[in-house]
Protein backbone atom coordinates (compact mmCIF):
# COMPACT_ATOMS: atom_id res chain seq x y z
CA UNK A 1 0.00 0.00 0.00
CA UNK A 2 2.66 2.44 1.00
CA UNK A 3 4.46 1.76 -2.26
CA UNK A 4 1.49 3.27 -4.09
CA UNK A 5 2.20 6.60 -2.47
CA UNK A 6 5.93 6.46 -3.26
CA UNK A 7 5.29 5.45 -6.83
CA UNK A 8 3.10 8.50 -7.25
CA UNK A 9 5.65 10.77 -5.65
CA UNK A 10 8.56 9.76 -7.86
CA UNK A 11 6.66 9.18 -11.03
CA UNK A 12 4.70 12.38 -10.95
CA UNK A 13 7.38 15.08 -11.39
CA UNK A 14 8.61 13.36 -14.56
CA UNK A 15 5.41 14.30 -16.31
CA UNK A 16 5.81 17.90 -15.55
CA UNK A 17 7.08 20.63 -17.87
CA UNK A 18 6.56 23.98 -16.24
CA UNK A 19 8.30 25.72 -13.32
CA UNK A 20 9.58 23.49 -10.61
CA UNK A 21 7.68 25.29 -7.89
CA UNK A 22 4.43 23.94 -9.27
CA UNK A 23 5.47 20.42 -8.44
CA UNK A 24 4.39 20.89 -4.88
CA UNK A 25 0.83 20.57 -6.13
CA UNK A 26 1.31 16.82 -6.03
CA UNK A 27 1.61 16.97 -2.29
CA UNK A 28 -0.55 19.96 -1.61
CA UNK A 29 -3.76 18.98 -3.35
CA UNK A 30 -3.96 15.39 -2.10
CA UNK A 31 -3.16 16.55 1.42
CA UNK A 32 -5.91 19.15 1.29
CA UNK A 33 -8.39 16.63 -0.09
CA UNK A 34 -7.52 14.07 2.50
CA UNK A 35 -7.73 16.59 5.33
CA UNK A 36 -11.40 17.06 4.55
CA UNK A 37 -12.10 13.42 3.79
CA UNK A 38 -10.52 12.26 7.03
CA UNK A 39 -12.67 14.67 9.00
CA UNK A 40 -15.80 13.26 7.43
CA UNK A 41 -14.62 9.69 8.04
CA UNK A 42 -13.83 10.58 11.64
CA UNK A 43 -17.25 12.12 12.23
CA UNK A 44 -19.05 9.20 10.59
CA UNK A 45 -17.07 6.75 12.70
CA UNK A 46 -17.83 8.80 15.80
CA UNK A 47 -21.53 8.78 14.99
CA UNK A 48 -21.47 5.03 14.43
CA UNK A 49 -19.72 4.59 17.74
CA UNK A 50 -22.25 6.73 19.58
CA UNK A 51 -25.32 5.16 18.01
CA UNK A 52 -24.40 1.48 17.88
CA UNK A 53 -21.87 1.58 20.73
CA UNK A 54 -19.21 0.02 18.57
CA UNK A 55 -15.79 0.10 20.17
CA UNK A 56 -13.98 -0.21 16.87
CA UNK A 57 -15.66 2.89 15.45
CA UNK A 58 -14.28 5.00 18.28
CA UNK A 59 -10.83 3.62 17.65
CA UNK A 60 -11.08 4.52 13.96
CA UNK A 61 -12.22 8.04 14.83
CA UNK A 62 -9.46 8.58 17.37
CA UNK A 63 -6.74 7.24 15.11
CA UNK A 64 -8.00 9.39 12.24
CA UNK A 65 -7.61 12.62 14.17
CA UNK A 66 -3.79 12.86 14.25
CA UNK A 67 -3.58 11.64 10.66
CA UNK A 68 -6.07 14.26 9.57
CA UNK A 69 -4.18 16.90 11.49
CA UNK A 70 -0.96 15.88 9.75
CA UNK A 71 -2.62 16.13 6.33
CA UNK A 72 -4.01 19.52 7.23
CA UNK A 73 -0.65 20.74 8.45
CA UNK A 74 0.98 19.36 5.31
CA UNK A 75 -1.55 21.12 3.12
CA UNK A 76 -0.97 24.38 4.98
CA UNK A 77 2.82 24.16 4.89
CA UNK A 78 3.05 23.15 1.26
CA UNK A 79 0.48 25.81 0.50
CA UNK A 80 2.64 28.42 2.16
CA UNK A 81 5.76 27.23 0.37
CA UNK A 82 3.91 27.23 -2.90
CA UNK A 83 2.34 30.59 -2.21
CA UNK A 84 5.65 32.34 -1.62
CA UNK A 85 6.95 32.27 -5.24
CA UNK A 86 3.51 32.44 -6.85
CA UNK A 87 1.64 35.03 -4.82
CA UNK A 88 4.75 36.60 -3.35
CA UNK A 89 3.58 35.98 0.18
CA UNK A 90 3.57 33.10 2.62
CA UNK A 91 0.05 33.65 3.72
CA UNK A 92 -3.06 35.41 2.49
CA UNK A 93 -6.40 35.44 4.23
CA UNK A 94 -7.96 33.49 1.45
CA UNK A 95 -11.13 31.52 2.14
CA UNK A 96 -9.61 28.13 1.50
CA UNK A 97 -6.50 28.81 3.51
CA UNK A 98 -8.50 30.12 6.42
CA UNK A 99 -10.92 27.19 6.37
CA UNK A 100 -8.01 24.82 6.29
CA UNK A 101 -6.45 26.55 9.28
CA UNK A 102 -9.69 26.32 11.24
CA UNK A 103 -9.92 22.65 10.31
CA UNK A 104 -6.49 22.20 11.83
CA UNK A 105 -7.70 23.76 15.08
CA UNK A 106 -10.73 21.48 15.06
CA UNK A 107 -8.52 18.42 14.72
CA UNK A 108 -6.42 19.72 17.54
CA UNK A 109 -9.51 20.24 19.69
CA UNK A 110 -10.65 16.67 19.06
CA UNK A 111 -7.27 15.28 20.07
CA UNK A 112 -7.04 17.54 23.11
CA UNK A 113 -10.47 16.41 24.25
CA UNK A 114 -9.55 12.76 23.94
CA UNK A 115 -6.36 13.16 25.95
CA UNK A 116 -7.95 15.32 28.65
CA UNK A 117 -9.96 12.46 30.14
CA UNK A 118 -8.44 9.79 32.35
CA UNK A 119 -11.16 7.27 31.71
CA UNK A 120 -10.98 5.87 28.20
CA UNK A 121 -14.67 5.25 27.69
CA UNK A 122 -15.58 8.79 28.71
CA UNK A 123 -12.83 10.17 26.53
CA UNK A 124 -14.12 8.24 23.53
CA UNK A 125 -17.64 9.49 23.98
CA UNK A 126 -16.64 13.09 24.58
CA UNK A 127 -14.42 13.07 21.53
CA UNK A 128 -17.16 11.53 19.41
CA UNK A 129 -19.62 14.21 20.52
CA UNK A 130 -17.20 16.92 19.50
CA UNK A 131 -16.64 15.30 16.09
CA UNK A 132 -20.36 15.23 15.46
CA UNK A 133 -20.84 18.83 16.55
CA UNK A 134 -17.86 19.79 14.41
CA UNK A 135 -19.17 18.18 11.26
CA UNK A 136 -22.42 20.13 11.57
CA UNK A 137 -20.56 23.39 11.96
CA UNK A 138 -17.80 22.82 9.38
CA UNK A 139 -19.98 23.71 6.36
CA UNK A 140 -21.22 26.82 8.14
CA UNK A 141 -17.66 27.82 8.90
CA UNK A 142 -16.72 27.20 5.31
CA UNK A 143 -19.50 29.36 3.88
CA UNK A 144 -19.00 32.13 6.38
CA UNK A 145 -15.29 32.23 5.64
CA UNK A 146 -15.98 32.28 1.93
CA UNK A 147 -18.37 35.17 2.32
CA UNK A 148 -15.96 36.98 4.57
CA UNK A 149 -13.01 36.63 2.21
CA UNK A 150 -15.05 37.94 -0.70
CA UNK A 151 -15.53 41.00 1.45
CA UNK A 152 -11.75 41.42 1.52
CA UNK A 153 -11.55 41.32 -2.24
CA UNK A 154 -8.29 43.19 -2.53
CA UNK A 155 -6.44 40.53 -0.64
CA UNK A 156 -7.37 37.56 -2.78
CA UNK A 157 -5.10 37.06 -5.75
CA UNK A 158 -6.08 33.49 -6.23
CA UNK A 159 -8.14 33.31 -9.43
CA UNK A 160 -11.38 31.36 -9.44
CA UNK A 161 -10.92 27.89 -10.82
CA UNK A 162 -7.24 28.33 -11.63
CA UNK A 163 -5.61 27.32 -14.89
CA UNK A 164 -7.10 24.35 -16.65
CA UNK A 165 -5.12 21.24 -16.13
CA UNK A 166 -3.80 19.18 -19.05
CA UNK A 167 -4.31 15.46 -18.86
CA UNK A 168 -0.62 14.61 -18.36
CA UNK A 169 -0.67 16.66 -15.17
CA UNK A 170 -3.98 15.31 -14.01
CA UNK A 171 -2.95 11.65 -14.12
CA UNK A 172 -0.08 11.90 -11.66
CA UNK A 173 -2.25 14.10 -9.48
CA UNK A 174 -5.00 11.50 -9.33
CA UNK A 175 -2.33 8.88 -8.75
CA UNK A 176 -1.02 10.90 -5.87
CA UNK A 177 -4.48 11.28 -4.38
CA UNK A 178 -4.91 7.54 -4.64
CA UNK A 179 -1.52 7.06 -3.07
CA UNK A 180 -2.36 9.39 -0.20
CA UNK A 181 -5.60 7.54 0.39
CA UNK A 182 -3.74 4.26 0.51
CA UNK A 183 -1.28 5.78 2.90
CA UNK A 184 -4.10 7.00 5.10
CA UNK A 185 -5.76 3.61 5.00
CA UNK A 186 -2.52 1.85 5.82
CA UNK A 187 -1.55 4.23 8.62
CA UNK A 188 -5.06 4.04 10.02
CA UNK A 189 -4.87 0.27 9.97
CA UNK A 190 -1.57 0.22 11.86
CA UNK A 191 -2.53 2.81 14.46
CA UNK A 192 -5.90 1.16 15.01
CA UNK A 193 -4.21 -2.19 15.47
CA UNK A 194 -1.85 -0.76 18.07
CA UNK A 195 -4.63 1.03 19.86
CA UNK A 196 -6.91 -2.01 20.00
CA UNK A 197 -4.06 -4.10 21.37
CA UNK A 198 -3.35 -1.43 23.96
CA UNK A 199 -6.99 -1.00 24.95
CA UNK A 200 -7.60 -4.72 25.28
CA UNK A 201 -4.29 -5.60 26.84
CA UNK A 202 -6.04 -7.27 29.73
CA UNK A 203 -8.18 -9.57 27.64
CA UNK A 204 -7.25 -13.13 26.89
CA UNK A 205 -6.93 -12.99 23.12
CA UNK A 206 -4.32 -10.24 23.26
CA UNK A 207 -2.22 -12.28 25.67
CA UNK A 208 -2.46 -15.21 23.32
CA UNK A 209 -1.30 -13.09 20.40
CA UNK A 210 1.65 -11.81 22.41
CA UNK A 211 2.72 -15.21 23.66
CA UNK A 212 2.48 -16.58 20.14
CA UNK A 213 4.73 -13.82 18.84
CA UNK A 214 7.20 -14.44 21.63
CA UNK A 215 7.49 -18.13 20.96
CA UNK A 216 8.11 -17.50 17.30
Amino acid sequence: MISGAYLGLFQAPADYQQGDSFRIIYVHVPAAWLSLMVYVIMAVAAAIGMIWRMKMAFVVAICSAPLGAVFTALALITGAIWGKPIWGTWWTWDARLTSELILFFLYFGVMATYHAFDDRKTAEKAMAMLCIVGVVIVPIIHYSVEWWSSLHQGATIFAEGGPRMPADMLTPLLLMIGGFMFFYGYALFITCQTMVLKNERKSRWVREVISRNHSR
Binding site: D118, D119, R120, K121, K202
Partner: protein, 220 residues
Protein backbone atom coordinates in the same frame (compact mmCIF):
# COMPACT_ATOMS: atom_id res chain seq x y z
CA UNK B 1 -33.57 -16.85 27.79
CA UNK B 2 -36.72 -15.89 26.04
CA UNK B 3 -39.75 -15.85 28.24
CA UNK B 4 -43.02 -14.07 28.60
CA UNK B 5 -43.59 -11.51 31.23
CA UNK B 6 -45.31 -13.56 33.90
CA UNK B 7 -46.96 -12.48 37.07
CA UNK B 8 -43.84 -13.39 38.96
CA UNK B 9 -41.84 -10.99 36.83
CA UNK B 10 -44.18 -8.17 37.58
CA UNK B 11 -43.78 -8.54 41.31
CA UNK B 12 -40.07 -8.32 40.72
CA UNK B 13 -39.65 -4.61 40.46
CA UNK B 14 -36.01 -4.55 39.59
CA UNK B 15 -33.99 -7.34 38.06
CA UNK B 16 -30.30 -7.25 37.30
CA UNK B 17 -29.03 -9.94 34.98
CA UNK B 18 -25.42 -10.91 34.49
CA UNK B 19 -24.09 -7.45 35.20
CA UNK B 20 -20.36 -6.74 34.86
CA UNK B 21 -18.42 -3.58 35.35
CA UNK B 22 -14.80 -2.58 34.88
CA UNK B 23 -13.35 0.66 36.11
CA UNK B 24 -10.43 1.61 33.94
CA UNK B 25 -8.37 -1.57 34.05
CA UNK B 26 -9.89 -3.17 37.13
CA UNK B 27 -12.74 -5.60 37.07
CA UNK B 28 -15.18 -4.54 39.78
CA UNK B 29 -17.73 -7.29 39.50
CA UNK B 30 -18.84 -9.84 36.98
CA UNK B 31 -21.94 -11.90 36.34
CA UNK B 32 -24.04 -10.27 38.99
CA UNK B 33 -27.67 -11.41 39.27
CA UNK B 34 -30.07 -9.76 41.62
CA UNK B 35 -33.74 -9.10 42.01
CA UNK B 36 -35.83 -6.84 44.15
CA UNK B 37 -39.55 -7.26 44.84
CA UNK B 38 -41.93 -4.65 46.12
CA UNK B 39 -41.83 -4.24 49.89
CA UNK B 40 -38.28 -5.50 50.00
CA UNK B 41 -35.13 -3.80 51.12
CA UNK B 42 -31.87 -5.00 49.67
CA UNK B 43 -28.66 -4.24 51.45
CA UNK B 44 -25.59 -4.29 49.19
CA UNK B 45 -22.59 -5.00 51.31
CA UNK B 46 -18.94 -4.97 50.43
CA UNK B 47 -15.70 -3.25 51.36
CA UNK B 48 -14.74 0.13 49.94
CA UNK B 49 -14.00 -0.02 46.25
CA UNK B 50 -15.94 -3.20 45.67
CA UNK B 51 -18.24 -1.46 43.22
CA UNK B 52 -21.32 -0.76 45.34
CA UNK B 53 -21.71 2.79 44.13
CA UNK B 54 -20.92 1.76 40.56
CA UNK B 55 -23.70 -0.80 40.72
CA UNK B 56 -26.17 1.82 41.91
CA UNK B 57 -25.08 4.17 39.16
CA UNK B 58 -25.53 1.46 36.56
CA UNK B 59 -29.05 0.86 37.84
CA UNK B 60 -29.81 4.57 37.52
CA UNK B 61 -28.43 4.64 34.00
CA UNK B 62 -25.64 7.06 34.85
CA UNK B 63 -22.98 4.51 34.03
CA UNK B 64 -23.07 1.86 31.37
CA UNK B 65 -22.25 -1.70 32.31
CA UNK B 66 -19.87 -3.80 30.27
CA UNK B 67 -22.45 -6.50 29.93
CA UNK B 68 -25.79 -7.50 31.35
CA UNK B 69 -29.20 -5.96 31.71
CA UNK B 70 -31.16 -3.84 34.15
CA UNK B 71 -34.85 -4.67 34.01
CA UNK B 72 -37.71 -2.72 35.54
CA UNK B 73 -40.84 -4.86 35.86
CA UNK B 74 -39.48 -7.19 33.24
CA UNK B 75 -38.61 -4.52 30.70
CA UNK B 76 -35.25 -2.83 30.07
CA UNK B 77 -34.91 0.08 32.46
CA UNK B 78 -32.70 2.27 30.33
CA UNK B 79 -35.09 3.18 27.58
CA UNK B 80 -38.12 2.95 29.81
CA UNK B 81 -39.03 6.47 30.79
CA UNK B 82 -41.43 5.07 33.37
CA UNK B 83 -38.44 3.88 35.35
CA UNK B 84 -37.10 7.40 35.69
CA UNK B 85 -40.32 8.52 37.33
CA UNK B 86 -40.41 5.55 39.69
CA UNK B 87 -36.99 5.61 41.27
CA UNK B 88 -35.07 8.09 43.31
CA UNK B 89 -31.32 8.02 43.73
CA UNK B 90 -29.78 9.58 46.79
CA UNK B 91 -26.05 9.71 46.29
CA UNK B 92 -23.13 10.70 48.51
CA UNK B 93 -23.70 14.20 47.29
CA UNK B 94 -26.90 15.64 48.64
CA UNK B 95 -27.87 17.35 45.37
CA UNK B 96 -28.93 20.48 47.19
CA UNK B 97 -28.26 24.00 46.03
CA UNK B 98 -26.31 25.69 48.78
CA UNK B 99 -27.46 29.18 47.78
CA UNK B 100 -31.12 28.28 48.12
CA UNK B 101 -32.98 27.78 51.37
CA UNK B 102 -34.14 24.39 52.57
CA UNK B 103 -37.71 24.93 51.52
CA UNK B 104 -36.74 26.35 48.13
CA UNK B 105 -34.75 23.22 47.41
CA UNK B 106 -37.74 21.04 48.18
CA UNK B 107 -40.05 23.28 46.21
CA UNK B 108 -37.91 22.89 43.12
CA UNK B 109 -38.05 19.08 43.36
CA UNK B 110 -41.78 19.25 43.77
CA UNK B 111 -42.29 21.69 40.92
CA UNK B 112 -40.56 19.30 38.54
CA UNK B 113 -43.18 16.70 39.44
CA UNK B 114 -45.82 19.18 38.42
CA UNK B 115 -47.73 19.55 41.69
CA UNK B 116 -47.25 22.41 44.09
CA UNK B 117 -48.36 21.75 47.63
CA UNK B 118 -46.82 23.97 50.29
CA UNK B 119 -48.30 21.93 53.14
CA UNK B 120 -46.52 18.82 51.94
CA UNK B 121 -43.25 20.74 52.03
CA UNK B 122 -43.83 21.84 55.61
CA UNK B 123 -44.85 18.32 56.59
CA UNK B 124 -41.70 16.86 55.09
CA UNK B 125 -39.51 19.39 56.89
CA UNK B 126 -41.37 18.79 60.13
CA UNK B 127 -40.93 15.04 59.85
CA UNK B 128 -37.21 15.46 59.41
CA UNK B 129 -37.13 18.00 62.29
CA UNK B 130 -35.97 20.78 60.00
CA UNK B 131 -38.92 23.13 60.23
CA UNK B 132 -36.93 25.66 62.28
CA UNK B 133 -34.38 26.09 59.51
CA UNK B 134 -36.77 26.05 56.57
CA UNK B 135 -35.71 29.50 55.40
CA UNK B 136 -32.00 29.17 56.07
CA UNK B 137 -29.76 28.79 53.04
CA UNK B 138 -28.48 25.25 52.79
CA UNK B 139 -24.86 26.38 53.17
CA UNK B 140 -25.74 27.47 56.75
CA UNK B 141 -26.94 23.97 57.68
CA UNK B 142 -24.77 21.35 59.33
CA UNK B 143 -23.79 18.18 57.52
CA UNK B 144 -26.37 16.08 59.37
CA UNK B 145 -29.09 18.62 58.71
CA UNK B 146 -28.24 18.69 55.03
CA UNK B 147 -28.39 14.93 54.92
CA UNK B 148 -31.80 14.99 56.57
CA UNK B 149 -32.96 17.59 54.07
CA UNK B 150 -31.86 15.30 51.28
CA UNK B 151 -34.09 12.61 52.77
CA UNK B 152 -36.94 15.08 53.02
CA UNK B 153 -36.93 15.08 49.21
CA UNK B 154 -38.11 11.48 49.34
CA UNK B 155 -41.17 12.60 51.29
CA UNK B 156 -42.07 15.32 48.85
CA UNK B 157 -42.26 13.11 45.82
CA UNK B 158 -43.78 9.66 45.40
CA UNK B 159 -41.32 7.06 44.17
CA UNK B 160 -41.55 3.29 44.38
CA UNK B 161 -37.88 2.51 44.39
CA UNK B 162 -35.43 4.29 46.63
CA UNK B 163 -31.79 3.89 45.79
CA UNK B 164 -29.73 5.03 48.74
CA UNK B 165 -25.96 5.21 48.73
CA UNK B 166 -24.58 4.90 52.28
CA UNK B 167 -27.60 6.50 53.90
CA UNK B 168 -26.29 6.18 57.45
CA UNK B 169 -22.90 7.80 57.17
CA UNK B 170 -22.20 11.08 58.92
CA UNK B 171 -25.53 11.19 60.64
CA UNK B 172 -26.27 11.28 64.38
CA UNK B 173 -28.32 8.73 66.30
CA UNK B 174 -31.48 10.75 66.19
CA UNK B 175 -31.16 11.23 62.46
CA UNK B 176 -30.51 7.54 61.94
CA UNK B 177 -33.70 6.63 63.78
CA UNK B 178 -35.62 9.12 61.65
CA UNK B 179 -34.27 7.71 58.43
CA UNK B 180 -34.89 4.13 59.49
CA UNK B 181 -38.47 4.97 60.33
CA UNK B 182 -38.78 6.65 56.93
CA UNK B 183 -37.54 3.51 55.21
CA UNK B 184 -39.87 1.26 57.19
CA UNK B 185 -42.86 3.43 56.31
CA UNK B 186 -41.87 3.24 52.67
CA UNK B 187 -41.53 -0.55 52.77
CA UNK B 188 -44.90 -0.90 54.53
CA UNK B 189 -46.44 0.93 51.60
CA UNK B 190 -44.92 -1.77 49.34
CA UNK B 191 -42.13 0.44 48.14
CA UNK B 192 -38.66 -0.99 47.66
CA UNK B 193 -35.24 0.13 48.76
CA UNK B 194 -31.82 -0.64 47.40
CA UNK B 195 -29.17 0.59 49.79
CA UNK B 196 -25.47 0.23 50.33
CA UNK B 197 -23.62 0.12 53.59
CA UNK B 198 -20.17 -1.25 54.22
CA UNK B 199 -21.11 -2.93 57.51
CA UNK B 200 -23.73 -5.39 58.59
CA UNK B 201 -26.96 -3.72 59.60
CA UNK B 202 -27.79 -5.81 62.64
CA UNK B 203 -29.06 -3.57 65.36
CA UNK B 204 -31.70 -1.71 63.44
CA UNK B 205 -35.45 -2.08 63.28
CA UNK B 206 -34.96 -2.29 59.53
CA UNK B 207 -33.47 -5.75 59.95
CA UNK B 208 -36.86 -7.42 59.71
CA UNK B 209 -37.18 -6.23 56.13
CA UNK B 210 -33.59 -6.59 55.17
CA UNK B 211 -32.01 -8.91 52.68
CA UNK B 212 -28.28 -8.92 52.56
CA UNK B 213 -26.29 -9.27 49.39
CA UNK B 214 -22.56 -9.50 49.46
CA UNK B 215 -21.20 -8.03 46.29
CA UNK B 216 -17.85 -9.83 46.47
CA UNK B 217 -19.37 -13.27 46.99
CA UNK B 218 -21.93 -12.77 44.25
CA UNK B 219 -19.37 -11.72 41.68
CA UNK B 220 -18.19 -14.73 39.72
Amino acid sequence: MNRDITNDDRSKLLTLENLSCTQGENLLFQGLDLCLRSGECLHLRGPNGSGKTSLLRIVCGLMSSDSGKVLWQGRPATSDTEFATQCFYLAHKDALKSELSAIENLRFIQALEGNIDEDALDDALDKMRLLSCADLPVQALSFGQRRRLAFAKLLVIERRLWILDEPFTGIDKEGKVLIEQLCIDHLEKLGSILLTHHQKLDSTPLKAYLQEYDILKASK
